[in-house]
């Protein structure tokens, strides 16, 4: 926020002292900024105030003298006098607490919340100290399961409405509500219904008592035994800020941190509960090498010797071009930098591809002026052309949902209905290829889209932001490159965000872990991508390094991948066991999330810190150390081996990172990290941390960034003299020409259907499989077709059909009817049970399949 937006204040008197407040803000906020904490339960800075708990009553002056008013609900007004510490207020607080405790059980010793409970804490601080209640309390059956992840102990509930408001308003998943009345009020799902939300864990996080608990954490730890490390979620590329909490050497839970610019304290359930996998027996913990046909645990020294001899013999026998690195998007920036340096300098191979999805390519990402999330949400119009945001970058859906309520205009381009469709002013049911072609050669679709954008943005696209991403995982990435190129050409002043969702994929791009690029967004000669590398590996001898990926699960044409893995020498560097590990000659265990420090880059280019909570499990080592040790094995200088030092080298060597220092990221001054390159305007200051309001996210040990950042008057100047203010502008990358072939939109005349592949949040991955509770939610594969198509193939809703790919692959899968789909298309939803990726025809503009009833 800039100075210009800071509105003129109103003046109120708080306990006899005059303070300045922002027009329209509730008293509770103004008081908090002035350093006076008013107790509260129902008020949450990220949700609509409802004033139901009455804990925040204060005396407020009015035409008839002072009266008790809820300070969370009442807005400040010029000349208002507020008293927060009178006898009357104290009596009201006593009363409210005594009533709340009437029906609250004495569960504290066995309650997860005990020790971090707002009800406990505020009773101690503001309560009467003694209860006069001698009657029998309420009893409910306990706990009840409102979803696979969340349990509810109803007698602990104080009816603050936080969970219900979150479900209804923030997540738009209104599957819980208050039922009953008076002392029979309970939070309830529909009888036999479920609180099936991707965001259910947030209700546990904000519940001010122990009524809602998370199954994976229940009875795992006591709050006073927990320590925390500030970190960033890497389950997708949004990079939600969170605290990793741990007890002794075990990660016990993740808690969302309120970052103004990223996640507003929310996390999705996949991110929040992914720690479950860290302690599973599917972890790789020992280095292993293959002796004859058996894998044997060996020392790091022996494993390294084997890796070193492989590299030497492949280089000598087939040239460095026979060595390739796949994956790495799950690694830290420091690990990626070290591995890219190893590959491209020490070994001398160009073959490195971290983006197995084949999303929007780096050449387009670098050439397009990137928006920050804040800019995108404040845009005049946001055009979303990507796969379903809620499935790919879940918390981004929450931010969009909120922004739309505040006036953001969204135009959606999607062939299928998504979670964004109800938010959008209009959905254009067009494929990415069709839009690219339309923009390239004109026509009614292009005109229509043009008019929609022009309705609120400028001629050249000023004020418009495009969120572009792969919307059909059967498409080649060239479709998306063409779409982005055509869009940038038509709206040269527009800004972009890209929805490639793999963890640190943008860090991987920036650090040259993608074909055609060197670290620091420096172009080099084009080289093979993952698909081409695999195709080569099936024919010629190759040494493949798999960096935390399983190409069997991720690339189309499983048969080809299998023969490639069979045919090559494979080094698996991963934290989790996968199908590909069965083909390994060497397995090197890499430290998992929370086990090593470093940094990560999100989809805006925002670099944030990853905190180390516990020591690496077993013999596993941080990614950057493994790269350094391989380099040393090859007789090369290994360079720095601590994350701070590696980042220092990066900022010294690469203009992209100039001015970026680990100490800055670790300071409270840049709680939300920094967007690279550090051009002045791109630096987002999210105001200064506020230390009050421990009630917003109970359980956070250092509640620094609680609540929306509200720069006010002199605070707004905190944005001065950021690091990098004087750093050179990094050279602008030219947008390559991409032209789309009309074949990409041709309709098959012979009754074949175009395949449209989409993913869901709980897609089967090695890490999800390793999480005992979360894995129960793994999505099942299915296809959806228009009712008429379903009829035409002679199948019924829910029956199994056979899909036949162009190259003869057959897949059996359950078919569902979906009214929102057009004819001629089959939407395949990837998941467990059927490998729909196998149907994808690589090297063509679009994939077609035949459907046969079973």
């Amino acid at each position: 926020m800039s100075n210009a937006e800071t509105p003129a204040g109103v003046h109120i008197t708080l306990d006899g002292v005059e303070i300045e407040a922002k027009p329209g803000e509730p008293i509770i906020e103004a008081a908090e900024r002035a350093g006076t904490f008013i107790p509260r339960f129902c008020y949450h800075p990220r949700m609509r105030a409802v004033g139901v708990c009455r804990m925040c009553l204060v005396e407020v002056s009015g035409p008839r003298g002072f009266s008790l008013q809820p300070s969370c609900y009442l807005q400040v007004a010029e000349g208002m006098q507020v008293i927060t510490n009178s006898e009357k207020v104290k009596k009201a607080q006593d009363g409210v607490l005594e009533f709340l405790l009437v029906n609250h059980p004495l569960d504290c010793p066995v309650c997860d919340k005990g020790g971090e409970c707002p009800l406990q804490d505020q009773t101690l601080a503001y309560g009467p100290g003694e209860s006069r209640f001698v009657e029998e309390k309420r009893h409910w059956e306990k706990p009840i399961e409102i979803s696979k992840l969340v349990l509810l102990d109803r007698e602990r509930c104080i009816q603050c409405d936080r969970c219900v408001r979150f479900a209804n308003e923030v997540a738009s998943d209104p599957f819980i509500d208050f039922a009953g009345r008076g002392d029979h009020t309970e939070v309830s799902t529909f009888p036999d219904g479920e609180f099936a939300s991707y965001f259910s864990g947030n209700t546990v996080q904000i519940c001010p008592v122990g009524a809602l608990t998370a199954r994976p954490y229940r009875f795992k730890a006591r709050p006073w035994d927990l320590e925390e490390a500030e970190s960033t979620c890497t389950a997708c590329s949004l990079g939600c800020r969170m605290a990793v909490q741990f007890s002794r050497s075990e990660v016990t839970r993740f808690v969302g941190i309120d970052s103004e610019v990223v996640n507003h304290s929310w996390l999705c359930d996949l991110g929040r509960f992914s720690y479950e996998a860290l302690d599973s027996d599917k972890r790789l913990t020992e280095p292993k090498v293959r002796y004859r046909s058996e894998m044997a645990e060996v020392s790091w020294r022996d494993a390294m010797a084997r890796v070193g001899s492989h590299i030497r013999s492949f280089t000598a026998g087939h040239g460095a071009g026979s060595i390739a690195f796949l994956g790495g998007a799950g690694f830290t920036n420091e690990g990626l930098y070290s591995f890219v340096k190893l590959a491209k300098t020490a070994i001398g191979t160009d073959l490195f591809d971290a983006d197995l999805d084949g999303g929007v390519p780096a050449s387009v990402v670098f050439a397009s002026p990137r928006a920050t999330l804040t800019e995108a949400l404040a845009a005049k119009v946001l055009v979303v052309a990507s796969a379903d945001v809620r499935e790919e970058l879940p918390v981004l859906f929450l931010r969009l949902n909120d922004a739309v309520k505040k006036g953001l205009r969204i135009i959606e381009i999607s062939e299928v209905e998504t979670s964004i469709s109800p938010l959008a002013v209009e959905r254009l049911p067009l494929s990415a290829a069709r839009v690219a072609l339309a923009l390239q050669s004109g026509g009614p679709d292009a005109e229509h889209l043009g008019a929609l954008v022009a309705a609120s943005a400028g001629e050249e696209g000023e004020g418009a932001v495009f969120l572009l991403g792969k919307s059909n995982f059967a498409d080649p990435s060239t479709v998306y490159a063409s779409l982005a190129a055509a869009t940038a050409k038509k709206w040269p002043a527009a800004k972009f965000l890209f929805a490639n969702s793999r963890a640190n994929i943008f860090g991987a791009m920036d650090l040259g872990a993608v074909p055609g690029w060197l670290p620091g967004r420096v172009a080099t000669a084009p080289s093979d991508d993952a698909g081409q590398i695999i195709a080569r590996a099936a024919d010629e001898p190759m040494l493949l390094f798999l960096l935390g990926v399983d190409p069997l699960a991720e690339l189309p044409d499983t048969a080809l991948v299998r023969s490639a893995l069979d045919n090559s020498t494979v080094v698996v560097i991963d934290s989790f066991d996968s199908a590909a590990a069965a083909y390994a000659d060497v397995v090197l265990p890499v430290a998992a999330y929370g086990e090593s420090a470093g940094t990560t880059t999100n989809f805006e280019g925002r670099v944030t810190r990853l905190g180390q909570a516990v020591v690496p499990k077993g013999q596993s080592k941080p990614d950057f150390l493994i790269a350094a040790e391989i380099a040393r094995e090859l007789g090369m200088p290994s360079g720095p081996t601590a994350p701070e030092a590696i980042l220092a080298e990066m900022s010294r060597e690469l203009p992209l990172y100039r001015g970026l220092a680990y100490a800055d990221l670790a300071s409270n001054r840049y709680p939300d990290g920094l967007v690279v390159p550090l051009e002045r305007k791109a630096v987002s200051i999210s105001a200064r941390p506020r230390k009050l309001d421990p009630i917003a996210t109970p359980g956070l040990i250092a509640p620094y960034h609680q609540g929306p950042a509200k720069p006010f008057a002199s605070e707004a100047e905190a944005g001065k003299a950021e690091p990098g203010a004087d750093s050179p502008k990094s050279p602008r990358v030219q947008l390559p020409e991409f032209a789309i072939d009309p074949a990409a939109v041709s309709v098959a005349a012979d009754g074949r259907l175009r395949l449209l592949l989409t993913r869901r949040l709980y897609r089967p991955t090695a890490q999800l499989a390793a999480a005992p509770i979360l894995s129960q939610l793994t999505a099942k594969a299915e296809i959806r077709v228009a009712p008429s198509t379903l009829e035409a193939i002679g199948a019924s809703d829910g029956s199994e059909v056979k899909l036949i790919g162009d190259h003869g692959t057959e897949v059996l899968v359950v078919a569902k009817s979906d009214k929102s789909l057009p004819d001629g298309v089959v939407q395949g939803r990837l998941g467990d049970g059927a490998n729909l990726l196998q149907l994808v025809r690589t090297g063509t503009w679009a994939t077609y399949v035949k459907v046969g009833s079973n």
Binding site: I176, D177, A179, R181, T189, P191, D192, G193
Partner: protein, 213 residues
């Protein structure tokens, strides 16, 4: 397969059309469902959610709040005995006890033959005939134990069939021509209100601006 019969579904849809916000029709639809099934079954709540653009959980949450909406089965006759002050003074307490004996169920219970559900109710504004009893929201009183038994017997025998409809039916007279709303008039009125509001706001802002100078 919907829970509403085609005729009721049509009425439901016309009710939904009456409101600028679909969800406002939620409670009227609950009454329709009770008219059809006697109480709110899960399939009905699901269909109401679909009709009003809400979720079943929200319908259940709302329905469970109101005493006149039932999410558990109720008998054909919902018998409410008032035990509020006026009735209590006139023997409402004893009458309730008698009713429990006579029907063989405690307050809140339903007889095995699913004919009667007994309720203890707060003042139903029939104090002049205390102690008062309501059967499906039709009033009787003052009642003694004997006249209560009489009433039950008559209900059982069907003698009140024309007067007391089965539980769920609130109004027996249906408008011949459906519900007609002069939408044009309503919209015009709304527009006028919006305009006046905007005018007031502009005036207030102008005044403020002047003050500021």
């Amino acid at each position: 397969m919907g829970a509403f019969s085609p005729e009721m579904r049509e009425r439901a849809e016309s009710l939904v059309a009456l409101y600028p916000e679909r969800r406002s029709a939620l409670i009227p639809l609950c009454h329709l469902a009770q008219e059809e099934a006697g109480y709110l079954t899960q399939p009905f709540m699901e269909e109401i959610a679909e009709l009003t653009g809400t979720t079943p959980a929200e319908v259940y949450g709302t329905a469970s709040f109101y005493d006149m909406l039932h999410t558990e089965p109720v008998g054909k006759y919902l018998v409410g005995v008032c035990t509020n002050i006026a009735c209590l003074l006139q023997g409402g307490g004893e009458l309730l006890e008698h009713a429990e004996q006579a029907l063989g169920v405690a307050a809140g219970g339903t007889t095995d033959d699913e004919m009667f559900t007994l309720e203890e109710v707060e003042c139903v504004a029939h104090c002049d005939k205390a102690p008062a009893v309501q059967v499906n929201y039709r009033f009787f009183g003052p009642l003694t134990g004997e006249s209560f038994d009489n009433l039950i017997a008559k209900l059982r025998a069907g003698e009140y069939d024309g007067v007391v409809p089965p539980h769920g039916t609130l109004v027996r007279v249906r408008r011949e021509n459906g519900i007609e709303v002069p939408l044009e008039e309503v919209f015009a009125e709304r527009r006028e209100m919006d305009r006046a509001k905007a005018e007031r706001k502009a005036a207030a802002e102008a005044a403020k601006a002047k003050e500021g100078n």
